[in-house]
Amino acid sequence: MSLKLDINTTAPDDIYDSLIRMHEGLDDEQSAHVNARMILLLANHIGDPAVIAEAARIARSAYAPDL
């Protein structure tokens, strides 16, 4: 399975709201940890290392070249 880059949800506002509320009242240090926990939870849910590697590549691409 490859990473889905077309629209895959009918509830984008709900998802975005969850991501924002996840950080409510946290300082940057706490937020960094919460993000890492979130990524690990979702990475396991996805399970396919190729999908995660592709997402990581795209996420990184705006700031640095591929490794």
């Binding site: 940890h33 890492a36 926990r37 990524i39 690990l40 396991n44």
Partner: protein, 554 residues
């Protein structure tokens, strides 16, 4: 403890002049092995058992007593068993199969693992035993072989490779002499003299964290398990404990970067670590202290003409995962039969190129695992640390996170998945080792009683034939000829020398074998090919391919 030039001595062998040569003279030797550590000695024993004349050079005159390799894997034990020293190692060693990982002093482990999920095999997942015992046992096994000569205090100082081998210059207390060798095997460790003399180097990464080894004697009841702790409630960023024979425990503490190594190794500076680990009321004494850093690197090629590298001289990993010495054992297991065939003229010299292919593949797999463990253990950036700690934190509450915990992925035999020697599957097997993987052990009955499958494999090509039909086995043997020996695995009936009985059915299930199935197994116990119905023409073709006959290797 006796020591020579600051190196503590386990057993002194003493300088003896070479039998065949005097100062200034040149001696001719088919196989010259440089280095008498566990890899060089196992290589010498393997080739010596095949009748090859071997000379082993060692710059020292003794086995050093220092803290080196202690964790020997099931696969290494299987190789040592093929060489005849497996039982002795198992008897002396401390058996362990379980590991636990702790975090920040919490008495409940965040992660546990069992390294031997398939039971009923001759050897356990691991034994711990000091490297000097392994070296001593190998030397004892070599001693009766008149064709193997270990030369103590003979130091390689020069080497000139040429098309037919290499000319080695050797220094002894009585002067220098030369050896013209057809093949040189460099088993001379991470600081390999051979590598340096040839101007060759490693590719890969060097890590900067410092680790402290304290081999300590104390009297405390503890489980025989590998315990690893991240961020312990005592000094050090991580700690690891292993039990060794003779009441010795290996403690390993992560010290961090930019430390003064000379200060760190002083007993008064080590004591707070050990005290922190053991508590205040346990007496202990130091056996050995050392501070080390590590690298995950390898040579680009292991075969340089007729000079061949094996073990730490060719590749380096971190100790977490026990992939150093165990990785080297896989090298010599791979090389021994190939070199023997080439020297016999049974296979072309191109077979040795498959050692380069397979051993560099194994080294890459070991380096990959070792590098990933190191990245988890020694985070380099704030974000790496956040991810690492998040894995540990989540592991307390959620099973999914526990396999992400990486305190070292422990050594197992690496399959030669893409080897040109493999004949890939054309039949569909429900289980069992694919071409390139090692044969798995199982209990069997032979004419002498209980035995193990792996005890019947190795040293030569074996066709493992799963059938009760004795006439079929005899006819298969007749078709295959002398270079392949048929070993029949029957379900019932009498056991004979070449007919083993799989009373518990474990061999059949572990190999996914129906009646009539056949595995062709290489002399190093790796599978070359397999078929649901034995077919002598297919087996012969796979055999030719696996020993590079008739240009089959490439």
């Amino acid at each position: 403890m006796m020591s020579v030039s600051g190196i503590p001595v386990w057993k002194e062998y003493g300088y003896r002049p070479a039998i065949g040569s005097r100062a200034g003279e040149t001696e001719t030797v088919p196989i010259l092995i440089v280095g008498a550590g566990p890899i060089g000695l196992a290589m010498a024993l393997d080739l010596g058992r095949r009748g090859r004349r071997v000379v082993v050079l060692n710059a020292l005159a003794f086995i050093p007593r220092g803290s080196k390799a202690i964790c020997f894997s099931k696969r290494s034990l299987e190789i040592y068993d093929r060489l005849g020293v497996g039982d002795r190692l198992l008897e002396k060693g401390v058996v362990w199969e379980k590991g636990k990982v702790f975090w920040r002093g919490d008495p409940a482990p965040v992660y546990e693992f069992d390294l031997l999920p398939v039971k009923h095999q001759k050897f356990p997942a691991f034994i711990n035993i000091q490297q000097y015992y392994v070296e001593e046992y190998l030397l004892d096994a070599i001693a009766p072989l008149s064709n193997v000569e270990v030369r103590w205090r003979h130091e390689l100082v020069g080497i000139a490779p040429h098309a037919g081998g290499a000319k080695a210059e050797i220094e002894t207390p009585e002067g220098r002499y030369f050896i013209e060798a057809d093949f040189v095997i460099a088993c001379d460790g991470s600081k390999s003299t051979v590598r340096r003399l040839l101007g060759l180097d490693f590719d890969g990464r060097v890590f900067e964290d410092n680790f402290l080894i304290a081999d300590v004697k104390f009297d405390q009841e503890r489980p025989t398990e590998r315990w690893f702790q991240f961020e312990p409630p005592y000094p050090g960023y991580s700690s690891l404990i292993h039990k060794q024979p003779d009441g010795v425990w290996r403690l390993d503490f992560q010290l961090g970067r930019d430390i003064d190594k000379k200060e760190a190794i002083k007993p008064e500076n080590v004591e707070p670590f050990v005290r922190g680990f053991l508590g205040d009321d346990i007496e202990f004494e130091f056996e050995w202290l050392s501070v080390y850093t590590f690298q995950c690197r390898r040579m680009r090629r292991f075969v340089h003409g007729r000079i061949i590298f094996a073990g730490d001289s060719a590749h380096l990993v971190s100790p977490f995962g026990a992939r150093g010495c165990n990785g080297g054992m896989q090298d010599i297991d791979n090389l021994g039969w190939k070199l023997d065939r080439v020297l016999s003229g049974l296979s072309p010299e191109s077979l040795l190129e498959s050692y380069n292919d397979e051993a560099t593949f194994v080294a890459d797999e070991n380096i990959l695992n070792s590098t990933r463990s190191t990245n988890f253990m020694t985070p380099r950036t704030r974000m790496e640390k956040i991810f690492r700690d998040s894995v540990l934190e989540l592991s307390r509450d959620f099973a999914f996170a526990r396999p992400f915990v990486n305190s070292g992925r422990l050594s197992v035999a690496v399959p030669y998945s893409n080897s040109p020697l493999n004949t890939p599957d054309t039949d569909v097997f429900s289980a069992g080792p694919k071409a390139g993987a090692t044969a798995i052990d199982a209990p069997l009955i032979s004419d002498r009683g209980k035995t193990w499958l792996l005890s019947r494999l190795g040293d030569r090509f074996i066709a493992l034939y799963f059938a009760d039909d004795d006439a079929g086995a005899a006819s298969l043997q007749a078709d295959l000829g002398g270079d392949i020996q048929v070993v029949q695995i029957a379900q019932s009936g009498p056991a004979t020398k070449s007919r083993l009985v799989d009373v518990e059915g474990l061999a059949r299930s572990r190999f996914g074998a129906q009646d009539g199935a056949c595995y062709l197994v290489r002399p190093d116990q790796h599978v070359a090919g397999r078929w649901l119905k034995a077919d002598s023409a297919k087996i012969r073709r796979a055999h030719e391919r696996a020993c590079a006959s008739q240009g089959g290797a490439k």
